[in-house]
């Protein structure tokens, strides 16, 4: 093990780590936004729009991120839509994640028992009150496990960004291996930085899951 090499690579990995985290979380934020809006459109069955959203969700859930990124990054510029690799990574992750989040939120919303809505109506709550105070909190509780799984899945998917020449962790590792051939050291750093990126999320996820689970009615 060449410790000198590890120390000298560290700043490069740190830079890549920050970039990966930045684009990863921006993409996840975008995914949440797209997912929530799409889920509402599906839940309220808004004509035309819900058909479009359905097609979008099926299309992006059934194709790999790598293929989506290639299409956005190499295909779209031919039609005059030119975007940088960072925006592309963010957009790709957001679109992929949005389709997963939409499914998750929608099934959470649909899982609320009818008796809940009927009871709230009997208590004299208005439609918007029912949605905000009865349906949303329970739907969130139900979907939290799947939401956390989605976040971890999306953070892992950031590893394909290197394919569109975004200087992320994977790109840096590959580059350094090619330059100096210190394969073991480079891979060790790669693994360590991915653990640093994902282990806290995994732990925090387990914690939140346990806390929120108590909120389920009748459990």
């Amino acid at each position: 093990m060449n410790t000198e090499a590890i120390v000298s690579y560290l700043p490069l990995y740190k830079e890549a780590f920050v970039l990966t985290i930045k684009i990863g979380w921006l993409g996840i934020a975008l995914a949440f936004a797209i997912g929530i809006v799409s889920a509402f459109i599906l839940y309220f069955n808004i004509p035309v729009l819900s058909k479009v959203i359905k097609a979008y969700v099926e299309l992006f859930r059934n194709t790999p991120l790598l293929v989506q990124l290639f299409f956005i990054y190499f295909g779209l510029p031919k039609m005059g839509i030119d975007i940088s690799s960072q925006v592309c990574g963010c957009l790709g992750l957001g679109l992929l994640g949005g389709s997963y989040m939409a499914e998750t939120f929608r099934s959470g919303l649909c899982a609320i028992a009818n008796t809940q809505i009927e009871s709230a109506t009997a208590l004299g709550m208005s439609k918007s009150q029912i949605f905000i105070h009865i349906i949303l909190p329970q739907a969130f509780t139900i979907s939290i496990t799947a939401l956390i799984a989605n976040v971890i899945f999306l953070l892992k998917e950031t590893s394909v960004f290197s394919a569109i020449s975004l200087m992320d962790l994977m790109f840096t590792a590959k580059d350094l291996i090619g330059l100096y051939y210190n394969t073991t050291e480079c891979l060790l750093l790669l693994v360590l930085f991915y653990i640093l990126m994902l282990l806290p999320v995994s732990f925090l996820g387990n914690l939140i899951e346990k806390k929120v689970r108590f909120g389920i009615f009748g459990d």
Partner: protein, 229 residues
């Protein structure tokens, strides 16, 4: 109409045997996923049953294994096996073998978790009732537990198959010539004659993956709904 096709870069698909080559590329990716899926399902069922036995040692080991798979991107695992392990052991491994090892390692973890989940989701009353009815242990598993477990398991494992197919697109990153790589080659070769090929080719690859995965995930959804209760 022809000019329109050319503008979108779809014309290149009809040149020579380009479309056939793309399909062959998809075939390579599908072959890797089918092999990995089959091995993962077998190993996953074995591990899942072991995990449901509540043996402390097995559970600790399994938990560490599952957590590794849960947080390590498949791409990192591919690099570790293809570049790392081969160098440390001083062996030569074909990229395809490395990718099958990685996807099996990953798929087995996912599958075992599904098996364990479906086994422990069978309520205790089912076991107790079959005992009260005088079933022997093997009868109880044969007629009561396993049929119910399978109903929960099949939709989830079909879903896992689509995820594995999608993940095999990563193998181009370790140099396997599959559908994306073939697409790049076609684009390079036709750079002069069809400058817009990138759009047509990658849109086609996008659709090919969709055609491969969508029916499978619909089947999973259908079975899940049908066997819900």
């Amino acid at each position: 109409m022809n000019a329109f096709f050319e503008k979108l870069g779809f014309d290149v698909l009809l040149k020579g045997n380009n479309m056939l080559r793309l399909l062959q590329g998809l075939g390579v990716a599908l072959r890797i996923s089918v092999i990995s899926v089959v091995i993962s399902i077998v190993l996953g069922i074995i591990l899942g049953v072991l995990m449901a036995q509540k043996n402390k040692v097995i559970n600790v080991i399994a938990k560490i294994y599952l957590e590794i798979v849960r947080i390590m991107p498949q791409m990192v695992l591919l690099f570790i096996v293809y570049f790392g392990i081969t160098k440390v052991l001083g062996i030569n491994m074909e990229a395809e073998k490395a990718s099958i090892i990685v996807f099996t390692f990953w798929g087995t973890a996912e599958m075992s978790d599904l098996v364990r989940g479906s086994l422990i989701s069978i309520p205790k009353t089912q076991y107790e009732s079959s005992e009260a009815l005088g079933f022997t242990k093997s009868q109880m598993y044969m007629y009561v537990i396993i049929p119910q477990t399978i109903r929960r398991l099949i939709p989830l494992s079909i879903n896992l198959i689509t995820r594995m197919i999608k993940t095999t697109s990563l193998v181009m990153m370790i140099g396997i010539v599959e559908v994306l790589k073939v697409g790049q080659q076609i684009i390079e070769a036709n750079r002069k004659t069809s400058p817009n090929a990138a759009f047509g080719i990658f849109a086609t690859v996008f659709l090919l993956y969709f055609i491969a995965c969508w029916p499978i995930s619909q089947l999973s959804k259908y079975l899940e709904r049908r066997w819900e209760n």
